[in-house]
Amino acid sequence: MSELALAGGAAGEQLFRQPAAATSSLMLEIDGWEGPLDLLLDLARRQKVDLRRISILELVDQYIAYIGQAEALKLEVAADYLVMAAWLAYLKSAMLLPKEEQEDPSPEELALRLQLRLQRLAAMREAAARLLARDRLARDVFCRGAPEGLAVDRRALWQCEVFDLLQAYGQVKARTAPVVHMVHDRKVMTLDSALARVSAMLGLTLDWVELRDFLPPLPLGEGDWADPRLRRSALASSFVAALELAKQGKAELVQDYTFGPLRLRRLGVAA
């Protein structure tokens, strides 16, 4: 124990050689350990035995002594370290008790767990060292300094056939061609002329005359009047003219049955 304690003490003395700068250097040194477990591992390593065979009791003494020294210099020691120191002090006292007085969990169990933790941290620390010692890229081995690089240009291969082209042009032309509604100049008999014709013809007779007979007779209707569309227009206009004359009281209309012939005669003859 003494030898190991000395080792720890030596490290402490080194630290505290310059009391003026002690504050920062001690904190720095505590900071240098990655927490209490790290410090414990370091102390355990100084036992120079396999981690599986370390003396937990010695380890506890060293740790408490180390923290004690730090505290003796009235320096703030990180809370983590103090908590660990308190826990280790408890562990030590429990281990010194006779077995039958030990509480559960037993100090042996706690010590074993601490040992297992130290082993795991040590294993990872060693693994890290081995990892960093490998041939590392950009330190020991190098990739190509000036690679050309690989590039993939996505290029569209546009597809269009002659037919598509012509059809498109045809569609543009058809779509944009001016739309003209042609109203054909159609021969019609106007209402005025029908009115004049029907009135004139009514004046010639007192008898009932069928509406169709007011139309120009076919033999006379050479040319234009042969057009059935003009005749239908003339019939319609003549009918409206007949209604108009009836309304004016100049004529009367009779129809014997539905869709029957429509007859017309001058009014006022009977009167």
């Binding site: 000036a146 291969l157 598509d164 012509l166 543009v172």
Partner: protein
Amino acid sequence: MNGPDTLLRAVEATLFAATEPMSVEAISTHLGGADVRAALAELAAFYGPRGIHLVERGKRWHFQTAPDLAHLLRRDHEVARKLSRAATECLAIIAYHEPVSRAEIEAIRGVQTAKGTVDVLMEAGWVRIAGRREVPGRPVIYATTPAFLAHFGLASRRDLPGIDELRATGLLDPVDVAFDALIAGGDDPADDLSDK
């Protein structure tokens, strides 16, 4: 055959890792003053038939991929894509009326034409800028390219059927237009609107 000797390997690795072509002197300095000329010649010969070549350019040496494999470095991945209706119309108008400005294309189409539409035709290599129209604003005018004729199997633009021929084939029939618009099913919203 024994493995390459250390100097050869060192020159090989040095040039491989170098970020710039290196002169004989620079390589030599890097390798503690060794004479590297023989190694360079041997390496260049060794890599001759391979996918990588060691070449000297302007007294500097560097590795590069074999020139015949250059197409591997920059690959064109061609994706077949159907030309949109808007672009097809545009192309047809340019073909029939060239040279035309974009405003003129729009006037003929009766629809606004996105700049990208003409760009696609230029990218396809079918349309080129044929100068500027000497009118206010000096608009760019477009014309077709020889690649256009080649693609569509035309000896010249005169091979394009005239309006009367198009009418004869029914391609100017408005019923067809309406039907095609239905079939196209809103392929190009602008076109559909213009059909209304």
